[in-house]
Symmetry: C2
Subunit: 353 residues, 2 copies
């Protein structure tokens, strides 16, 4: 099935949603995107796995990157897509996260043969799964030159606002030790689950930092995301593990975050499981400032981790700006508002014209 | 292989240990015990599964039951048995729990053709596993008359002291609820693991009761034996379950214990997983008092749950009295002291002569 890039953004979003593309199964959709873009003479198209990159080469003074992932989370009885009776809302898996953003990218690629800035359009796979499979990550390693630019926009759901930077995320296992004993003589041992109450006390009394970074207010979080312990129904357990997830503002590096967590949980064994740095919003960079001025609205901080951090690693300022609504991403009732798709396309087109 | 009941208690213990009989695999040992006892004309032998019962029928005014389990926990590089160089200690799986006690039962059955009280010797299987497989439990349901008596002695490890009664045991799952959210916006949810800190606070501040029951001091215990919670590394969890084990003194019934736990954890969902009542020591009953006077020493409370509770259910006063050492039961270094086997046999023989 071919994609019709001359259709309006909402119609194109519905067509994209109806190409099932759960992570790992993006090939048919990537093929259709590649075919549609290859037909446009003003774009040079490259393919790597199921990631498609299309670039103008007009010799403009600035190059910007518009990027989005084509995969979705698994279906939850919300496939295929469905418009409401007024055609003001489109429901279905990936409508908000983020095929409406992909539709905007494709509409701009189609309708702007001579943008005022050179544009690199990136359509990548496997964003919803482990980082090692992420198409943008793989491309940033195999062919970073294809991602070069002065500024990047990720069309992730942001409710039509500019969301700057992102918070980092760290997971660590806190292991509390005790001593085994039979529960009939529990005073011979030391209960590690009871002792883990001290770890929970740290979490319960923790006050989130809300630093302002480059003008945007972030909001940190520290949560137990798992707890496990226990040997048998008649044994005082000698080990309890609390896994915590620390979401840290982008004024802290990954190393800062790790040091902070090790200090906070110093009485116990701390094992860092993974860490992904955040990204400063960088809205003071000239390319970013002109983007914000062009699309309007008040920028706000992005709290979740997104692939803007990958652009930050490559030294490219990046923001999230897309028609979807982040709060309903990954829910069975996911939808996108049709006017938001049109507004996003119009504002980006104005910026690039 | 046949058992030689004319050998001394330590030699017989070693022979019994060297019949591997992990729970469920007692048949060869039960066969050997049945053969050895059937050869003794003063005993009537009955078999039910891998449980063997042998009885004198001398028409005495009193009948006592001597009982022990023939199974062991799984081997832990402690098989077969081994004497130390002075032959003062015998090491190996089941030496203390409780083949030394089984050896004493067999020695008494062999050497006392005309005891002063009629004796029922019970050798049963599957004590170390779930209650529904326990040979004594099954016999108490299928043929309780075979267990009839005025008094019972379980030759469980008790360090050569009389241990009276036993504490009950109850397990319950305490479920703490919260509300899911993405950890990047954790304040949108309610972390159930953090909230479980309140359950751990109850456990940490709990003061054990130490009631005196029929002259013996018990010592209760309340412990978390398992904790679990967590959905994914980026999700605020909406459920955390703490499993607790309450060991309660025998002045409380199973219903009392359940009511107490439901009250203590009233703010949360409480699901009782299993409960086994304790048994009062009953040392004031005439048969028990004469036993204590005969074997000497100061009786103490049994804190763990044992099969004396089954005799209590049948209305038969019962105590634990055996040569093993309860503190090292189920450990890889399990052993029994040779003089303790002899002393136990001699004192019981004196009581029954």
């Amino acid at each position: 099935m071919d994609l019709d890039l001359s259709a309006d953004g909402a119609t194109l979003t519905a067509a994209l949603v109806d190409f099932a593309s759960v992570s790992g199964e993006e090939k048919p959709l990537a093929d259709a995107i590649e075919r549609a873009l290859t037909a446009l003479p003003h774009l040079a198209v490259r393919r790597a796995g199921n990631t498609v990159v299309a670039r103008t080469a007009l010799g403009r003074a600035e190059r910007v990157v518009l990027a989005g992932h084509v995969d979705t989370v698994p279906h939850a009885a919300n496939f295929p897509s469905q418009f409401d009776s007024e055609r003001s809302k489109l429901s279905g898996v990936g409508t908000t996260d983020m095929k409406s953003g992909i539709a905007v990218q494709l509409r701009l690629a189609y309708s702007l043969p001579e943008p005022s800035r050179d544009v690199t359009y990136v359509f990548y796979d496997c964003e919803e799964v482990e980082a090692e499979r992420n198409g943008l990550y793989l491309l940033s390693r195999s062919d970073p030159g294809l991602l070069a630019g002065d500024f990047a926009v990720l069309l992730e759901p942001s409710g039509g606002a500019v969301e700057g930077g992102c918070q980092g995320t760290l997971r660590a296992a806190i292991t509390v030790r005790g001593a085994r004993a039979h529960t009939a003589r529990s005073w011979m041992g030391k209960n590690a689950i009871h002792a883990a109450g001290d770890v929970l006390d740290v979490l319960r009394s923790w006050e989130p930092r809300k630093p302002v970074v480059d003008g945007l207010e972030y909001h940190e979080g520290l949560n137990a995301v798992a707890v496990s312990g226990g040997i048998a129904g008649n044994v005082v357990p000698d080990e309890c593990v609390v896994t915590v997830n620390y979401r840290f503002a982008p004024d802290k590096s990954a190393a800062d975050a790790e040091a902070y967590i090790r200090e906070l949980f110093a009485p116990w064994e701390v094992s860092v499981l993974d860490v992904a740095p955040g990204a400063r919003p960088g809205l003071t960079a000239p390319a970013a400032a002109s983007f914000v001025a062009a699309v309007g609205g008040t920028p706000r901080a992005k709290l979740g981790w997104t692939d803007v951090a990958r652009f930050a690693e490559l030294g490219i300022p990046a923001v999230n700006y897309g028609p979807g609504i982040s709060e309903i991403a990954h829910t069975p009732g996911e939808y996108v508002e049709v006017p938001a798709i049109q507004a996003c396309e119009q504002r980006l087109a104005a910026w690039l014209s």
